[in-house]
Symmetry: C2
Subunit: 384 residues, 2 copies
């Protein structure tokens, strides 16, 4: 036997940190909490904010990775969801979603085979920025007898993925339009870098630039006889701009259902934080050490929260600040009037919702002070 | 039926990103790779570096969360492992580890009940810094008919958890010694903040301070007739200092098996990076977009890597730098002589190993260019 073979027997799944009906004080920590009242208001506010605007909503499931949330977004008018990975899309389709756009490049035979298999079960879209990838997708779709909607990703300013606007997009569109098994669906024009610009003027500048690049490209596509049916893009930070641009047909906000501390720092026209959506996502922490009146340690650290966009905010405890994160500890600085006791449960607002949700297997949904539901985050860890 | 009840059917587990025997080029990405040759050299180097020093090694399993690694550490002389959470300890005990110190406070009835249940299967230690917690542990241990080794955590400079050195420690030791079901085992004196100080002089200053605080406290404990059998602490950055202090009996290095980019920035006496241990842990990424010669996007982003201690380093591709992370993307800046092709697999050295490992369910172990084993990271997500 291979001496490096695994000797680990299977381990039963770790039970969820809560049961339905439990009081919040009984929930084991760290736990990912969803305030259902705030979540449901956010769900309804998105379509309300788009009244009178002709745009379809395809929320991004990368923020929640949770089919229960996707189904509720669809009940509020969404036409389907976006995913960032094929495996994430598998979780959504198995969870009942029938229309998924993988708003990303799918590279490599393994992933492409899974994508076309999924396209036999649901309407699947995918993005491209490379001619060889178009050929690979076409061959796989043809072999599987599947159809894929293919969007050309246009680099509208994020300088990450995407073909440059103009001629390179036309070449890709032509390859898609002539590729068996593929349908040229349109353009993916997402400006990620604009979402978190702090002032409305900066966000508008970013989206104005993106819209100009898309318009120029659409004109070239028309000339080439390759009209783009759908232009899709936008996130929580900028979607009203894309929605009213007369250029975008679909928008992809994700974080609006949760909000996070970082999005909470975006400012509106009045110079105050935008309050369109509420914080509905929290981390429940326990005070696990308190040996000094100016300091306490909680059990939410780097393994229970992503700090890429800053430390979490302490909710509902004025004078308490989360000042330092270690692997499994967070240090709270306490000033007047904050006092805590050992074992006390404290709610934190995560700095960045998407990578934080990805750390958890369960969304503990509560209303008032009691757990009302447990939603499995079946997309958790589905990044390959 | 509760309208917010979950409607998600069970989803089969996501298959591992590799199979044994596969070439590295076939591994699906992102994947967590372990270079077995480098890992095995690191495993052997730790005891070799301690030759002639009388100290026991109890490596910290929070770095790997993987019983297969714990068992190999024990084969190289370790007496057991440390864990940071009871649930992590459950994964280790189910995986065959018989002696675990939870080097942390365990607060709340749920967690304490699980701790004492585990103490019926393995030798279990735990840390305290609060008298009420000592009473809770004693009551639970007594009720379960279990025995717990209890260590007083001393704040030796990290200013996170722990009782202040001196009299507060004696009071806790007395409560433990008289608490049914509990044994006063000694002191937990871990100076986390000293591990990543860049110069040897700073690290030595930190541990000299810690040793002085421990010595003062040990003298008071002797006077009180409460001798500490064991002083435990230390990490990869400082363990030679604690090991040669004549005060510490056990050391707890964790990262030495993997190393990471952050530990790679610690300097030795010659002003050069310390090279005692090798990088054995890598992230395998795929180039998923390359539309500009100066730039490429890889599929390792914030959900596949923790950036709390900086961005990952690109391994074996001079001229390529990981400059920006998004949720599922990393942007590489390419300068001479770096060139990449779409679909190319690239190895990255993670900035911080512990929270990065916690994102993965599988350790893909390779030797040379082929996958030799798959080790389940059964402690993944076991933070509550």
């Amino acid at each position: 036997m291979n001496p490096s073979a695994s000797r680990t027997p299977p381990l039963p799944p770790h039970p969820a940190p809560a049961t339905v009906g439990m009081s919040l004080d009984e929930v084991d920590t760290p736990a990912l909490l969803l305030d259902l009242d705030a979540f449901e208001r956010n769900l309804a506010r998105l379509p309300a904010s788009l009244r009178g605007v002709s745009v379809r909503v395809r929320p991004h499931a990368k923020s929640h990775k949770c089919p229960d949330i996707a189904l509720r977004q669809i009940e509020h008018g969404a036409i389907g969801v976006c995913c960032q990975k094929v495996s994430e899309a598998e979780a959504m389709v198995r969870g009942g979603v029938k229309d998924v756009l993988v708003s990303n490049q799918v590279i490599g035979a393994t992933k492409i085979a899974r994508l076309v298999a999924l396209a036999k079960e649901a309407k699947m879209g995918v993005c491209v920025d490379d001619l060889g990838n178009v050929a690979d997708l076409s061959q796989a779709a043809q072999r599987a007898g599947a159809k894929l909607d293919v969007y050309v990703e246009v680099n509208v300013g994020a300088n990450r993925c995407g073909a440059d606007p103009g001629a390179p997009v036309v070449a890709l569109a032509r390859a898609i339009a002539t590729g068996p098994g593929l349908t040229f669906a349109g353009l993916h024009a997402y400006h990620g870098a604009a979402q978190h610009k702090r002032t409305p003027a900066e966000r508008k500048q970013g989206i104005d630039d993106a819209v100009a690049k898309v318009k120029q490209t659409l004109a070239l596509l028309e000339q080439a006889g390759l009209p783009a049916r759908i232009v899709t893009g936008a996130g929580t930070g900028t979607y009203p701009l894309e929605a009213s641009s007369n250029v975008y047909h679909e928008i992809q906000p994700g974080s609006y259902i949760f909000m996070d501390a970082d999005y909470g720092r975006n400012l509106g026209a009045d110079g105050q934080p935008v309050h369109e959506f509420e914080h509905s996502l929290f981390l429940l922490a326990t005070v696990m050490s308190h040996t000094n009146p100016q300091r306490a340690a909680v059990d939410v650290g780097l393994k229970a929260h992503s700090v890429d966009s800053g430390l979490p905010l302490v909710h509902g405890l004025p004078g308490a600040t989360y000042v330092r994160a270690a692997d499994e500890h967070g240090v709270l600085a306490l000033t007047e009037p904050a006092t805590v006791t050992l074992g006390q449960k404290i709610r934190l607002i995560p700095g960045h919702c998407d990578p934080t949700v990805n750390l958890y297997d369960w969304m503990v949904c509560y209303r008032g002070h009691h757990v009302e539901a447990l939603w499995p985050i079946t997309g958790r860890g589905r990044f390959y």
